[in-house]
Symmetry: C2
Subunit: 192 residues, 2 copies
DNA sequence: ACGATTAGGAACCGATCGGTACAAAACACA
DNA sequence: TGTGTTTTGTACCGATCGGTTCCTAATCGT
């Protein structure tokens, strides 16, 4: 061993992820990245390969931390019925939109729109995350109504698109009332 | 008068709009813009002020052409009931996603995610477009059920978020089946 | 105490960014 | 056929882009 690094790579990655999350790939310049991560170029290129690969790593990190958390919440029976959990998630999203002045939204949703993803490795990662979310909704629905696979799959997809829709509207700065209305409509999807 | 211009400003604007639509503000470099518009720098800066203002003009153009078309379709009684028109719109979106290899999606939706919009004039334009869409859904619903303003407003917002959700999933490259499932869920929102 | 080894930081790289200046080219009008 | 006016293309601008080089600073094992 020799000189130890002066920064926490995990922390730095988190800062990088948040910046990509906030402004997307292109808009996050290397200098902004360095400022956010509080390291200099030397350390950056030593610890991470380049901008592209730290972006991919950020996607993985989001998958491992945020998406996994959401999936866990959706399948946590302690949170109530499947319906309760799904509505709870939407409630949390609405809260986040209301509280979060910066309107981060959902990294997955943002990255899907961000053209930087297209074609390469990123696209596969994103599609995998979309499927994880869809399946999490599906399983939550199946907990309540175990025998209706076809119906639950359909509903899961409807809920998924409502989820992304709410995220988009969040970036538009939707009102509390509008968020509440959107959630009421999700409730109707869960009815029957 | 003197030397006439050799390009059609309307056509050039259309090309610019399509590029912004496709890749967003930052990712559309000036040289890509010039290539797409098939003009050179001199003409560009003479005819349009700068990159920022042609972007704003692109948003206006999208509003005037595409959004207006959508709004007109949603309020065209010749297309059937309000329900028919809304489902028809979703059907068209699904078709576009299936056909369109480039997966343009919806400029409004993309721009909402694109951080370039934030804070300035663009944000107002985007919010105005969101409201136009919401109101168009609302009116279509009101044609079928004239007395339920509160319910229609709520449903309109749910449909709006489903619309954006479908657009996001479109960028993710959703399957025909998935699009069909999403639309079936919109049908359920329109029920009752 | 002393190499070996690694991190940190600054100088530097060519390329490209958005934007300007200006001269040559192409028209209208006289 | 000038002459004035506008468009067009090109050369150029400083700034910044992502990335590399390389020297110095710091800490290890011995």
């Amino acid at each position: 061993m020799a000189r130890p690094r002066e920064f926490d790579p995990e922390e730095a990655m988190d800062k990088a992820m948040t910046l990509f999350w906030d402004v997307g790939y292109e808009e996050a310049s290397l200098s902004e990245l360095l400022a956010a991560m509080e390291i200099t170029k030397g350390s950056f290129y030593k610890a991470f390969q380049d901008k592209q690969s730290i972006y991919l790593a950020s996607l993985d990190r989001y998958n491992d931390n945020v998406i996994s958390g959401t999936v866990a919440y959706l399948s946590d029976a302690a949170q109530g019925t499947g319906r309760d959990r799904i509505l709870g998630l939407f409630e949390k999203v609405a809260q986040a939109v209301k509280a979060d002045g910066d309107r981060l939204g959902c990294f997955l949703c943002n990255a899907l729109i961000d053209k930087a993803a297209e074609g390469g490795e990123a696209e596969n990662k994103l599609q995998a995350m979309v499927h994880r979310l869809e399946n999490a909704f599906f399983k939550a629905l199946s907990d309540d109504r175990p025998r209706d696979d076809a119906g639950n799959r359909e509903t899961a997809r409807g809920v998924l698109s409502a989820y992304f829709g709410l995220r988009v509207l969040g970036r538009a700065g939707l009102s509390t009332q509008m968020a509440a209305d959107c959630i009421r409509q999700v409730e109707r999807l869960l009815e029957r």
